[in-house]
């Protein structure tokens, strides 16, 4: 089974990457952009999708500073 996990900085924690991107976009003429956050995407094949939550808590994310979301888990 193919799964996709999105990891992002926890709300309220300063996200300098998000700020840098937010400041760069207007320089290219894209206005009206706000609340930018930069996270990480992990794609993986797993035999047992019920392991995904534990994988996220133990290795893929650091729950102190990051939130994770198991975006999709699909066969094929």
């Amino acid at each position: 089974m193919r799964a996709r996990v999105l990891i992002r900085p926890k709300a309220g924690i300063l996200d300098p990457q998000g700020i840098a991107v937010e400041r760069a976009l207007p320089a290219l003429g894209f206005t009206g952009v706000s609340n930018v956050h930069v996270g990480r995407l992990v794609e993986l094949d797993v035999e047992d999708p019920s392991d995904l939550d534990a994988m996220c808590r133990r290795l893929l994310s650091n729950p102190l500073i990051e939130d994770y979301e198991i975006l999709e888990a699909w066969s094929g």
């Binding site: 924690i13 300063l14 300098p16 990457q17 840098a20 990480r40 290795l59 893929l60 994310s61 650091n62 102190l64 500073i65």
Partner: protein, 226 residues
Amino acid sequence: MKAGVVRFPGSCDDVDAQLAAQRVGDAVLLWHADPDLHGVDCVIVPGGFSYGDYLRVGAIARFAPVMESVIAFARDGGLVLGICNGFQVLCEAGLLPGALLPNDHLRFRCAQAQLEVVNASTPFTRACEAGQRLSIPIKHTTGRYYAPEDDLARMEADGRVVLRYADGLNPNGSLRDIAGVCNAEGNVFGLMPHPEHAVDELTGASADGLRIFQSMAEAVDGRVAA
């Protein structure tokens, strides 16, 4: 004192840490894949880019075979020092509270930092005096210390904030200007500055970093280090 310096793939300050520790005792390298700590009296987790910093700094190194032994050693009261990437690894391993986040300015910062010794009664700072200034270099991209506000207040009250960037000259956006913290028991200490690069005035701007290694030797040997 016989110190063991961990070498991960991607460590780069392991030999400097070994040479610094050898000024006050013996020091050997510990290979990441070997869980045997070879009878060392204390462990140093050095700076560098363990496992390429992949995924998240320290995240993969934390599960190296040697780290399982280091964690057990620390739980038994053994002295463990984490420098820079080593600090990040110890946080990921749960031996120290909090985490290190990217510098608020997102730049790699290489500079001589002025530190204030906040707690001089730990095994890592006993050769210092409270309030003493130490001049020790930093070089990192991910050094912004973070812990939840409640934890920070408790840590400060318990003397677990050991080193602070002095005079508000905070190089990375660390909360409360924190440069180094210890665990509740005081036997695990992590700091972003590199004391192993400040042990000889010939090759560094000061020899203040030696104080950290002297402190450890005193704590282990029960006497003032040479």
